[in-house]
């Protein structure tokens, strides 16, 4: 028992550091996914057939690019993007470097979820706004995004949870974080105690994200 506690004592600083690294990686990637994923999702939607910025080519090109990124397994994407990450940050190791592939994966993933929730918006409401002579920009800002908000928040939840699991893989290329700890100690060194502890932390984190996401989505839903 005391041995078990001692082990915790020695690993605790590493755990805390890994925990913050994970939050940092996932948090920053999420912010980037929001900043770029929402415009991409909106663009995918409003350039589709029957919408006010209908543009077959733009829609096709954006669709293909986001599909390509989403079809590459994250582990491969991680490796493929190493030169890009290096060009950007002059470094490929550590949580900051992991943010690059995480964001690249998260942007099209989240964008598609945004697009899907925009599709759920009642066409009649968009039509009423067009009949009122609203500018496209006002329709996006004043109707599409507020009406799709519950869906977008659900998409954000799914993206955050996916990023959390991707961030564990980032450990393989020295990305740091809880997943990295689990792999280094649990997988490479057969340290079950650390492995189970990190898994439990991850489970709790996922539950927490899901709970907060569901609660917020419900809260903003006025339907």
């Amino acid at each position: 028992m005391s041995e078990w506690l001692d082990r915790y004592q020695s690993i605790l600083p590493d755990m805390i550091k890994a925990f913050w690294e994970t939050l940092y990686m996932v948090g920053v990637s999420m912010i980037i996914a929001i900043i770029l994923g929402i415009p991409l999702g909106v663009l995918l939607f409003v350039t589709s057939k029957g919408l006010f910025w209908q543009n077959r080519w733009l829609n096709f090109i954006l669709g293909v690019i986001s599909n390509i990124i989403r079809s590459v397994p994250f582990l491969i994407l991680l490796v493929l993007l190493l030169p890009f990450t290096f060009a950007l940050l002059h470094n490929t190791i550590g949580p900051t470097s992991a943010i690059v592939p995480l964001s690249v994966a998260a942007i099209p993933f989240f964008a598609r979820l945004v697009e899907t929730s925009l599709r759920e918006v009642d066409k009649g409401v968009i039509e009423a706004a067009i009949a009122a002579g609203a500018k496209p920009w006002l329709i996006i800002r004043g109707i599409l995004l507020p009406e799709a908000k519950p869906g977008i928040i659900s998409g954000l939840t799914i993206t955050a949870i996916s990023l959390l699991s991707y961030s564990a893989m980032a450990g393989i290329v020295g990305g740091g974080g809880i997943g990295d700890l689990a792999i280094r100690f649990g997988y490479y060194r057969y340290d079950n105690q650390v492995m189970y502890t990190t898994v439990i932390i991850l489970i709790v984190l996922v539950q927490l994200i899901q709970f907060i996401g569901d609660w917020t989505s419900r809260k903003v839903n006025k339907r």
Partner: protein, 335 residues
């Protein structure tokens, strides 16, 4: 106010070319409450949606308040639409915004100054009787209240025209009546031209002054509402009117009665005269009312009585002839 010239709307559906609107010419005057009736699929919805170019006509001209809409640029069309209000069958309110924010959206769309918006919203909500519901969300409102919000936002930018796309079809009769009452009031107060499409002749009877009957993309009959109701030319028009003016006499009555059964029609002022009792007295015929209905269309009566006349054969014939002369017509249902 609205002029449609040779308007045609075709679209492709499952490889087949469908003509929803077929060479329609229509003139709607300022201040009219113009009804367009037809069964579903008659093309009335497409016709209405061509009036603000929500649907682009294949051919023809759409002139609203002197402006040819089909010739406008995107931006000019957007500005023109601000002066063409529209309400919908399913209200189409923004569910994530409050009643006040819904109305404010249309004001914002027209580029109203921020500081002027709250005052104008209040004014509009007062006009439709929803001042106390300003902070409610659409989901918290009844159907009639939702349509009132729809009306408030549609007239927010002082449009010349209000297009109503089956605006009462999702409402119960009592709510329908109150919405029609509101539309009538707005028409009077703002001298707003209203175009409404419906499949209910009852709605036309209630508020329209002119009506067009549509079938397979064409307008088959058009005219003043009283004229159409009292003297329909087309069988389709008669079908629609019968729904309002329908009656049925039990078979038992027809069989058991010994006298002559006549249907006497009344039109405009004649319905109010005591012609029937005068005629019956002068001819020594007894009259027994079996059925009767008088509708007031734009405050003018239109109706009929079904009567059983008993007496000497000659006297009855004389009475029928006299009634035919003094009323809008007599139809002998059973000699």
């Amino acid at each position: 106010m609205i002029e449609l010239i040779g308007l045609t709307k075709q679209y492709r559906s499952r490889g087949k070319m469908i003509t929803a609107v077929d060479e329609v010419n229509l003139h709607i005057a300022k201040g009219d409450i113009y009804g367009i009736v037809g069964y579903s699929g008659a093309g009335k919805s497409s016709l209405l949606r061509c009036m603000n170019l929500l649907e682009k006509p294949t051919r023809g001209e759409v002139v609203v308040n002197g402006v040819e809409l089909t010739k406008l640029s995107k931006e000019e069309l957007r500005l023109s639409r601000q002066k063409i209000g529209m309400i919908f069958q399913h209200f189409n309110l923004i569910t994530s915004k409050t009643v006040a924010e819904n109305v404010a959206f249309n004001l914002k769309a027209a580029g109203k100054k921020k500081e002027d918006i709250p005052g104008r919203v209040k004014e509009l909500l007062d006009l439709v009787g929803l001042l106390d519901k300003a902070d409610y969300y659409p989901a918290q409102l009844s159907g009639g209240q939702k349509q009132r919000v729809g009306i408030a936002r549609a007239i927010a930018n002082d449009p010349h025209v209000l297009l109503c796309d089956e605006a009462t079809s999702a409402l119960d009769p009592k709510t329908t009546e109150s919405i029609l009452e509101l539309l009538k009031e707005i028409n009077k107060k703002l001298n707003l031209t209203i175009v409404l499409i419906t499949h209910e002749m009852e709605v036309v009877k209630e508020i329209c002054n002119r009506v067009a009957v549509m079938e397979s993309g064409r307008i088959v009959e058009e005219g003043g509402v009283y004229q159409i109701f009292s003297d329909p030319k087309e069988s389709l028009t008669r079908d629609f009117i019968d729904k309002v003016m329908q009656f049925s006499l039990p078979d038992r009555l027809m069989k058991s009665s010994s006298g002559t059964i006549v249907k006497i029609l009344f039109r405009e002022a004649k319905a109010e005269e005591a012609v029937v009792s005068d005629v019956l007295q002068s001819c020594q015929v007894k009259g027994n009312i079996l059925h009767g209905k008088i509708e007031y269309i734009q405050d003018a009566p239109l109706g009929f009585f079904v009567m059983e006349l008993t007496g000497e054969r000659e006297e009855v014939d004389k009475a029928v002839a006299l009634l035919d002369e003094k009323t809008a017509g007599v139809e002998v249902m059973k000699p």
